[in-house]
Amino acid sequence: MEIKKPAVAGTLESSDCQIVIRPNGGEGIEIELESDVAVMFGDSIRETIQNTLEEFGVKDAYVEIRDKGALDCVIKARMECVICRGAEEKYDWTKEDAR
């Protein structure tokens, strides 16, 4: 998917995360992470973000995540949502069948 416009998903409530995505002007993928647990889980959070971008075929995006202790599955859900919003596309749920 191609990120066409800036988009946001998630909240700053406990156990959630807020993710902003925008086109990165051909500079590839950049991830900016802010989390109280970055020392312990930073790599894992970045990996989830990276994997979701790959799954959706996103090659050019600037991703900012403010994590408030979100579970991995919450981060994934927020990423999936923000990518679809930024790409202005509905999710094709049949893609889940191959996973």
């Binding site: 959630d16 579970l71 599955c73 859900a77 949502c81 919003r85 999710y91 749920w93 049949t94 069948d97």
Partner: protein, 301 residues
């Protein structure tokens, strides 16, 4: 004795699909049924986000000891098709349909679920349905809805929308929904499915909750929807069977087993025939006892 899966439905608790913390906390309470909600608790601007959250939560963070349910958006809403696509793939125990009024609506949804189940290789018919009855038309047609599809395992009365559709005033005593509760209950009994009672809205009135739950239990309901986690233990306690009920259930099951050993087609107890619904009721009673921590193994009956 042959093992049968009995899913208790003494208490149901909604967790908003818009709130990760709500969904995570709901796992730690004692409700039998956890309902991940895509409908009323989710604002229109967050329907897409809630769908992703609920899908990922049920898929990856599902509680093992609860009956897991997803409430989709209304039958005629623009969100339903995508809700079903996501919900079926999450593979919950059940999908809860709001504001059901006609049998054909349930049959249509069941067909759509079957098409997805087939496509993804799930056993067709595995996902169960609970129909929320929330209008006078739903109450009038409760019987046809209860019998509409083999997937339907329960119906739940919802008082707030129902009173609005009746132009009635919602009161604590609930006289205005008394007929509806009974009509839905009788339809459920006729179809051999569970009947789930209305919520008691005042979370600070424990006495009122006890009175209302006692009424629900005495009328014959199998459980009650809770509006707040603090109501769960109270409601569960009312749906804990008495020793007399437990012993009778054990006797029913013992008679059924004896009948099987002797290859009897019909089994009797105390001069009366034991039919399939009686056997299921006995199994449910024992499951309720077990959930309340009562040990029935070796009990003298």
């Amino acid at each position: 004795m042959a093992e049968k899966t009995i899913h208790l439905k003494r208490t149901s608790l909604y967790a908003s699909g818009a709130s990760p913390v709500n969904m995570i906390q709901a796992i730690f309470y004692n409700e039998d049924m956890l309902i991940y909600d895509l409908e009323d608790s989710v604002p229109a601007s967050e329907k897409d986000a809630a769908r992703f959250l609920v899908y990922n939560m049920v898929k990856n963070h599902r509680p093992k000891d609860k009956y897991v349910c997803i409430r989709v958006n209304g039958i005629y809403s623009e969100y339903l098709e995508e809700d079903l696509q996501a919900a079926v793939r999450a593979n919950p125990d059940c999908i809860r349909i709001p504001k059901v009024e006609y049998a054909r609506e349930v049959q249509d949804i069941s067909r759509r679920i079957a098409a997805i189940e087939e496509k993804i290789g799930l056993e067709v018919g595995k996902i169960e349905l609970i129909c929320n009855i929330e209008s006078y038309m739903g109450v009038i047609n409760a019987m046809e809805i209860a019998h509409s599809d083999p997937r339907v395992v329960a119906m739940a009365v919802s008082a707030e929308d129902l009173t609005a559709s009746l132009k009635a005033q919602r009161t604590k005593k609930g006289l205005e929904v008394f007929y509806a509760r009974n009509a839905v209950l009788m339809a459920c009994r006729s179809a051999g499915i569970d009947a789930l009672d209305i919520v008691f809205s005042d979370i600070n009135d424990k006495e009122g909750l006890e009175e209302d739950t006692a009424l629900a239990k005495n009328l014959g309901f199998d459980g009650k929807t809770c509006i707040h986690p603090r109501q769960i233990d109270t409601v569960n306690s009312f749906f804990t069977p008495s020793m007399k009920e437990i012993k009778y259930a054990l006797r029913v099951l013992q008679a059924v087993e004896e009948g099987k050993k002797q290859h009897k087609g019909a089994v009797t107890l105390d001069g009366g025939m034991i039919d399939k619904p009686m056997e299921l009721r006995a199994l449910t009673t024992l499951a309720q006892a077990k959930a309340a921590g009562i040990r029935t193994e070796g009990m003298v009956i």
